[in-house]
């Protein structure tokens, strides 16, 4: 057990190192950062001072080392646009994004589990087609389209929900729903196909032979098995969540990390982007490790 955790942690660290190198390398490709910090009126001396203070006169591996050590201490640079430390911006915005994703996660469970289970248990039925429809949506339509449709219906026509911002509980509904639909789309697909396999399996047949009712074979026997593949993809869902939140926050003007990213793109504020991507990498690597651990704990066949 300890070996397993240790091994995964080492793998995680290696991944993070590689990712940080890529991120670092890309930003060095963007041209001279010092040039971005000055304006037309600055003198050459000022430029050189900034150049030195950013450590750009050092050899590249030293620069990388400085970059990593600073990052580990929480110093992710200064935003070009707002002149605030990136880590401070992140600290302000991350809770909002997490709140959004948290609500979305709860919605996802209530949408995906019943739909996926019933779709798999009753293939060809209306609910199966509906589940496949939701699932197909996630692959056929960018997430902002769903956002627009919801705004049109609920804000513009029905006027019962706010079209943006993070004010009051009502403002959570539409953006969370958008993320939830896309999360659910993936989960429904996996859950449905696992359920189909499980229901055809011998142990479900045997359970029915024992006298277990059909609904119990579905909701207790088959579902327990089918949830395992869903859990194994946990890391992937975190990545999807991050992606969706970036776009959804742009659509709904939600004051989270995604919104920060969108403004940073417009102003080419790469310290912010760099900091966000690095943080996201950390979150994803941790999420993947946690997923593996949780899965190993849940599947009795993997006894550590």
């Amino acid at each position: 057990m300890v070996w397993f955790i240790g091994f995964r942690l080492v793998q995680g660290v290696i991944s993070l190192v590689i990712l940080s190198m890529i991120i670092f390398g890309l930003t060095r490709l963007s041209g001279d950062p010092a040039l971005m910090m000055i304006n037309d009126n600055s003198s050459r001396a000022e430029y050189e001072q900034i150049h030195r203070s950013l450590g750009l006169d050092r050899p590249i591996h030293e620069q990388y080392y400085i970059y990593v050590t600073k990052a580990l201490q929480g110093d992710l640079g200064i935003s070009i646009h707002s002149r605030q430390p990136v880590s401070q911006l992140l600290a302000q915005r991350l809770p909002n994004t997490f709140a959004l994703l948290g609500v979305a996660a709860i919605m996802t469970i209530f949408i995906a589990v019943p739909l996926g289970t019933l779709a798999g248990a009753n293939t060809g039925s209306f609910i199966d087609r509906f589940g496949q429809l939701v699932s197909g949506l996630g692959q056929s339509v960018p997430v902002f389209v769903v956002g627009f449709v919801l705004i049109l219906v609920f804000s513009v026509y029905l006027r019962i929900l706010p079209s943006g911002g993070m004010v009051g509980w009502k403002s959570y509904i539409m953006p969370s729903l958008c993320v939830a639909i896309f999360w659910a789309a993936g989960i429904i697909r996996v859950l449905r196909s696992s359920m189909i396999d499980a229901i055809r399996s011998d142990f479900v047949k045997f359970a029915r032979i024992k006298g277990v009712s059909r609904s119990r074979t579905v909701w207790v026997h088959a579902l327990r098995n089918s949830l395992l593949p869903v859990v194994s993809l946990g890391g992937m869902y975190v990545a999807i969540g991050i992606t969706s939140s970036v776009i959804i926050e742009a659509v709904f003007s939600w004051p989270g990390v995604g919104d920060l990213v969108q403004h940073a793109i417009a102003s080419r504020d790469f310290p912010v982007i760099q900091g966000v991507v690095l943080t996201a990498s950390l979150i994803i690597v941790v999420a993947n490790i946690l997923t593996d651990l949780v899965y190993a704990a849940l599947d009795p066949r993997i006894r550590l």
Partner: protein, 292 residues
């Protein structure tokens, strides 16, 4: 316990192959390709021509005129013509990513699957690492650091997409490798490269076609999302995603302005996905339920 079904005759099988072809989806794709190929020839007005007097006119079926069939945006530009030109922009990205990322990934998959061993392990580790990462953030990073542009966008998408192709193709290769005709070739001393080219590759073509078609929708979605964020196809090209983004502010005054590009994206993606599923069922059903 339930007995197997019965074999049918060859003519019946062929008819069944062609039957159920998704006509609507294929038509939409045909229209899309027409827009790509004909480009400017299909437009009604200059796509970037500003005409403030005509701003925010509704589409023809909602009270507007047929001269501007899909309405105009806030600068009086013809939405239909902008959609037509935007089609080509998206398509260029799709082709670029499929050619470089798709074929490149497939090649790596063939090598990885056939050679095996450390090479295989190495390639697959890289693939897993890339697959786990959110493409949007990676593409944003590349665009912001290396500058906006279609070429950078294609590079960013290739960096993630190659892994999907590599994985799926590798799976196929692992199966083909153990088939008798390959084992025979190996044991008679035919060189690895020749085997890969002459025997393995022709057998993965079917799979490749299916996977490519299914990925087109994904590429369009990612490109649209990136353009939406401002990190995709740069202005002044009217990319569908950026049209939607800029149109967000007009949901109340002219909802068709964001709706038209959104609908275009949705229809084209859906059509490619449906056709891709249909091709998969015909050419290689074993891919059903594969990785996203």
């Amino acid at each position: 316990m339930i007995p197997a079904t019965v074999a049918t005759s060859a003519p019946k099988r062929r008819a069944r192959m062609l039957a159920g072809a998704p006509i609507i989806s294929l038509s939409i794709i045909a229209i899309f390709l027409a827009m790509v190929v004909l480009g400017q020839a299909m437009t009604l007005h200059a796509p970037n021509q500003i005409n403030l007097a005509l701003k925010l006119h509704p589409p023809a079926l909602l009270g507007g005129s047929w001269e501007y069939p899909l309405g105009t945006d806030w600068l009086g530009r013809d939405l239909y013509s902008r959609i037509v030109v935007g089609a080509r922009a998206s398509f260029v990205v799709v082709v670029g990513v499929l050619l470089v990322g798709g074929l490149g990934g497939a090649a790596l998959g063939v090598i990885s699957g056939y050679v095996g061993g450390t090479t295989d392990a190495l390639i697959m580790r890289c693939a897993d690492a890339t697959l786990a990462f959110p493409i949007i953030l990676l593409a944003v990073l590349i665009t912001v650091t290396m500058g906006p542009g279609t070429a950078n966008l294609i590079i960013a998408l290739c960096l993630v997409l190659w892994a999907r192709f590599a994985r799926i193709v590798r799976g196929q290769v692992l199966v083909i490798r153990e088939q008798n005709f390959v084992v025979l070739a190996r044991s008679s001393g035919v060189s690895g490269v020749t085997i890969m080219l002459r025997h393995v590759v022709p057998n993965v073509v079917n799979t490749l076609i299916v996977v490519m078609t299914l990925q087109i929708g994904w590429i369009i979605i990612v490109e649209a999302s990136l353009s939406f964020l401002g990190a995709g196809i740069p202005p002044p090209t009217p990319a569908w995603g950026s049209m939607a983004a800029r149109g967000r502010d007009f949901l109340t005054t002219g909802w068709w302005v964001p709706a038209v590009p959104c609908l275009s994206i949705a229809l084209v993606c859906l059509s490619f996905n449906i056709v891709g599923d249909w091709l998969r069922d015909r050419l290689d059903p074993s891919l059903r339920g594969g990785p996203d």
